[in-house]
Structure formats: C-alpha cells, structure tokens
C-alpha cells in the first residue's frame, strides 16, 4: 500500500445523533480506506457500527437518527451532503451493502432473480434479459448450486447461507468499488460462516472491491482485515493495521476485548471480562466514554482523549496509553 495513493473513502468527524438526545450516538468518527482493502470495524453490540455504515449509505432511520456533522469523501465527493438523486445513483452501483439478517433482508414476495436484476437494470439501463443473465452469472459466482433454478425461487425456498450468498450476489452485481458488510455471518451456522467469509475474500480479490466489514468477532477480524477500527460507545478508540493491533493492543478496551477471545488471548487472561456496562447511547458521559469501566482511570479521563500515536505503531484514544503489560491483570498475581 502506498500511503500517498488517494483513499477511496475518507470519513472525517462523522457524528450521528438521535433527535433530542444530549450526546452523539456516533461521535467524531474518522477513518479512511484505500481501494481494494478491508477495514474491520469491531466492537460490542450497540456501539454504533451499523449506524456508521448506514449513514455512509444514506440509509439512517431519520427521524429520529440524523448525521450531525462530518464528511465522507467517496472518490472525492461527500456522501453525506449529496442530494437524494445522486445518492441513489451511487448506492447499489459504486457502493453496496449487505446486512446481518439474511432472513428478513430479502423481499419475501419477489423472486431472487428479479431482486438482483432490478439493481442491474436500475444502474446500467439494460434490458430485462441482459439483467437476468447478469443475475444468473452472479448467482453462479457466489456458488449457489442450481443457480438457474434459484433465479425463479423465492427467498423462503433458500437456506440462510444461500440467502446470504444471494445478498452478496445482489450487492456485487454492479461491480461496486466499496462493499459495506454489516455482520454478514453473525446469523449463520459456524460452518456456513467460514464458507461465506471465504467466498467474500475470494470475490474481493477477484473484483478488487474495497470492504468495510463490521463484526464483533475478533476471529473474523484476524482472518479478513487489513486494518481495524475498534469502536466503543460510538467512538473509535483504537485504529491501525491489523497486525499492529493484535500484536500491541493499547486501549484498555481493546485489551479487554482480546482477553475475552479464547483463541487469541493468553491463558491467564482468558477469563477476564470487562466489568460494568456500556453507557446509554443517548446519554453518554463527558470525557472518555470507557472511563466508568476502566481499571486505569485517572483524573484526566474526564476530558475526551484524541486519537494519537503514543506507541509508535498505530493510533489510540487513551490518556494512559500505552499501558504496560505488567499492569494488565490484577488477578494474574494470584495462582490459578
């Protein structure tokens, strides 16, 4: 990756708010993405991952949600301030999204083929038969068995994994430059999850699509991401290259997340869970939002920490970073 190449997507200071709330649901989120790369946004459920992606797509449920600040330059144009007609021209064409729930995200009364073909017709202005041929090609590409037959089936006739494949086919039908995937495998069986992730990686390599992959699963991150953004309570608390973050997590929240992950965490840290609760999305504390749960809290944490690069490898928003590993686990001292 050449650092000087213009990013495909450059999000700056994105904030989202619920009407009448006293704090932002998503607060001051910034990241950028190079063409063809994968950024994973990881964090607990409710931390604002989906809303971030929906805001980029222009699909926030407004009211009550609305973007209250920031820009998102996609190929140099600000997605957040585009008029409706322009947004419609971009989404489903240059950028596409797949959702967590394959069961409810497909229209139950329309045939699979039509649901893919309509996106092709809309953006390429091609005839019905050309769009249908493209739909078939896409279904084959996502390796749905008996693709020709599936074209004329309805969503309820497909298994969960098949539906998610169909969603992927639909999203990639117009060769988008950017794919937003919001927990695409969370609702699926473990074996199917691996297959779908594998498929997404293969297609991404083949088509050169950049991807923002939302997940709460660090295993998925390790497997898929070039870069990681760790979100906590609506803010990015740590962001950088995947390897750097796994090798040297610096934010207490990231460290906690990794500790609770059996496959990667070290044995002594495995049983650690982060005490306390996530603050309410509509009523966030001032200052560091993790402070109330943080064992390293000090006075200055009442002020909001900015992302900075104290450890030299990647950026983290914590006054105490980098935290010495030896501080990590008070329980470590006691014999297990």
């Amino acid at each position: 990756m050449t650092p000087d190449a213009p990013p495909l997507l450059e999000v700056r200071n994105l904030s989202i708010r619920v009407a009448n709330a006293r704090s932002n649901l998503v607060d001051d989120v910034s990241f950028s993405l190079q063409p063809g790369r994968t950024l994973c946004i990881v964090g607990e459920s409710g931390c604002g991952k989906s809303q971030t992606a929906l805001a980029l797509m222009g699909l926030l449920a407004s009211p009550p949600l609305s973007v209250t600040g920031g820009t998102a330059l996609f190929n140099g144009r600000d997605l957040l301030s585009l008029p409706q007609a322009e947004k419609q021209r971009i989404r489903g064409d240059r950028m596409a999204m797949i959702f967590q729930e394959p069961m409810s995200s497909l229209n139950p009364v329309l045939r699979i083929g039509e649901q893919i073909a309509e996106a092709v017709r809309r953006h390429r202005g091609v005839s019905n038969s050309v769009a249908r041929a493209r739909a078939l090609e896409m279904l084959e590409k996502v390796r749905i068995p008996a693709a020709g037959k599936r074209l004329d089936e309805f969503p309820h006739q497909l298994s969960g994994g098949m539906r998610q494949r169909a969603m992927i086919a639909m999203a990639l039908a117009n060769d988008p430059e950017l794919l937003l995937a919001d927990e695409p495998t969370t609702a699926l069986d473990v074996t199917i999850q691996a297959q779908i992730l594998d498929l997404m990686r293969t297609l991404q390599a083949e088509l050169g699509t950049a991807m923002i992959l939302i997940t709460h699963d660090l295993g998925v991150v390790a497997e898929m991401a070039d870069e990681v953004a760790v979100m906590y309570a609506g803010r990015i608390v740590e962001i950088g290259a995947t390897q750097d973050i796994f090798d040297d997590p610096q934010h207490p929240y990231t460290i906690g997340l990794m500790s609770s992950m059996p496959a990667l965490g070290r044995r002594s840290e495995r049983l650690v869970t982060i005490p306390g609760r996530v603050p309410s999305a509509t009523d966030m504390p001032d200052g560091c939002r993790f402070a109330s749960r943080c064992p390293f809290r000090i006075g200055i944490c009442a002020r909001t920490p900015e992302l900075s690069n104290p450890g030299g490898s990647h950026r983290v928003a914590c006054w105490r970073a980098p935290i010495e590993e030896t501080y990590l686990q008070p329980q470590e001292a006691q014999p297990a």
């Binding site: 797509m57 699909l59 449920a61 009211p63 947004k87 419609q88 021209r89 971009i90 989404r91 489903g92 064409d93 596409a96 999204m97 959702f99 729930e101 409810s104 995200s105 497909l106 229209n107 139950p108 009364v109 329309l110 309509e118 996106a119 809309r122 953006h123 309805f154 309820h156 969603m167 639909m170 999203a171």
Partner: protein, 314 residues
Amino acid sequence: MLSFIGRRILIAIPTVLLISVFVFFMQKLLPGDPVLALAGEDRNPEILEFLREKYRLNDPLYVQYFTWIGNALQGDLGISLRTQQPVLTLIGQKLPVTIQLAVMALIIAIVIGVPAGIVSAYRKGTWVDWLANILALSGLSVPNFWLGIMLILLVSVKLGWLPASGYQPFLDDPLQSIRTMLMPAFVLGTGLAATLMRHTRSAMLGVLKSDYVRTARAKGLSETTVVVKHALRNALVPIVTVVTLLFGELLAGAVLTEQIFTIPGFGKLVVDAVFNRDYAVVQGIVLCTAIAFIAMNILADALYRVLNPRMRNS
C-alpha cells in the same frame, strides 16, 4: 391453484347446507303466518287452507325442508308468495343492481383509501398524515343517511349534476347507469375508504420499517419503486383481508343506501320479503348471500396465494 380452489369449494358445500338448515328453521320459528299476509283482508278459512295446501305448508317441517333444498339444488328456489314470480328471477333482477352499487362503492373506497393510507404512512407525523386521519375519522363518523341526503340536496337539487334517485340498467346505457349510481356508491364508499385507509396505513407503516425495504433502498431504487414494488406488494396481504371483511359491511350498507336513493335493489327485496313473510324469498336471499360470502372468502384465499409466495406450495 385450481385444485386449491376446487378443494375449497368442496369444503364450502357442507357449510352452505348447514346455513340452509339454519335459515329454514329460524324462519319457521318466527311468529306470523305467511298465508295470512298473502290472503290480506280475506280470511275465509277455506281459502287459507287451500293456500296452505298449495304451498305445502301442511307438510312436516323436515319434508318441507328437503323439498325446498332439493329444488334449490336444481336451481329452483320456489315462488314468491307475494308476487308469484320465481324467487330466482326476483334475485336475478335485483342482484345485479346491488352488485353494481357494491362494486362501484368498493372501487371508490380502494381508489381513495389505499393511496391515502400509503401517503399518510410514508409521510407519518406530517400534516398530510394528520389531514388523512382527520378525513378518515370524519368519513367513519358521518352517518351514511345524512351524507346521502346532503349530497342529494347539493349535487342533485341545487347543482342538478346527477340524478337524485332511480336506476338505469348497466347494459342498457352504461354511462347513464354509472352516473345514476355515482352518488350512492360514493356515500357507501367513503365510510369503507376510511376503514381501508387506516388499515393500509398501519400495514404500510410496518412494512416500510422492514429490512427488505432498507435493502431495496440500498440498491439505489427510486422511492416510488421502493414504496410500490417493495413495500405495497407486501402490505397487500393484510389489505386484502380487510377488503374481504368489509364485504359484509358493504352489503349491509348497500341495503341502507338503496333506501336513501330509492334504488330497486336487493335491499328493497329483502325488506319487503321480511315484512310480508315471503319465506321463499327470504330463504333464497340468505342462501345467495351466504354463497356470495363464501365465494368472497375463497377469492380472498386465492388472492393470498398469488400475493404471498410462501403459501403457494403449502
């Protein structure tokens, strides 16, 4: 699909028979003697007895029932005691009038109610939504007879645009027929439109929040496509249910509306027959209405299957 409809019709047969038994015996339990009504002032016992014999009213009840239902199965619903015309002929004359009124009212209700429901759901909480809801509430609370009389006074008496009453058979002069029926159909249709609007609104509100509508938007489809192709198609299932349920209300309303606009339809036939204890006519009418209801339900179920692919191969 055809085998489905066939099955439904087979199931409907015992239902219709049960209704026929019920209607027949209920009628016999009612006070009043049809022969007295028929003979009028002349209470000569011999004549009364003659009439009873003629109409086989002296047979045991079950014999009377089987005679009636046996004939009915062959398309003979008996003779009206009062007019001496075959019941089937009477129904055949009056039913098309009421069907025309009901169909026109339903079209008006759908044309007003469904778009209003869609718009007020789509613009939920805006002044459009408020306006639609206020109009719907007024539509529901204004009694038909009052609206009918006001319309007659305004549109017919004062402006002279449409005839105040009467009936023109559709096949003789379709345009004039529609003109004559327009006001009654409007009166009957507005109340239904209000009900339909409220149900459409709530069905659409649910559907517009759904994940697949979000997916449709994510494809960059136009809002019109999203609302009509993706949302409305799904909301139609509950809407069709409501239309089926409205059918009863529609018939009851038609009877009343026909009285206001002096339309010689089913309503007048029913009222006259009940007051004159014209058994054969009442029984025939109830039987026909019951069959119409069952047919409507079968039609609605068939429509579900068209609208809802999940039901098709079950």
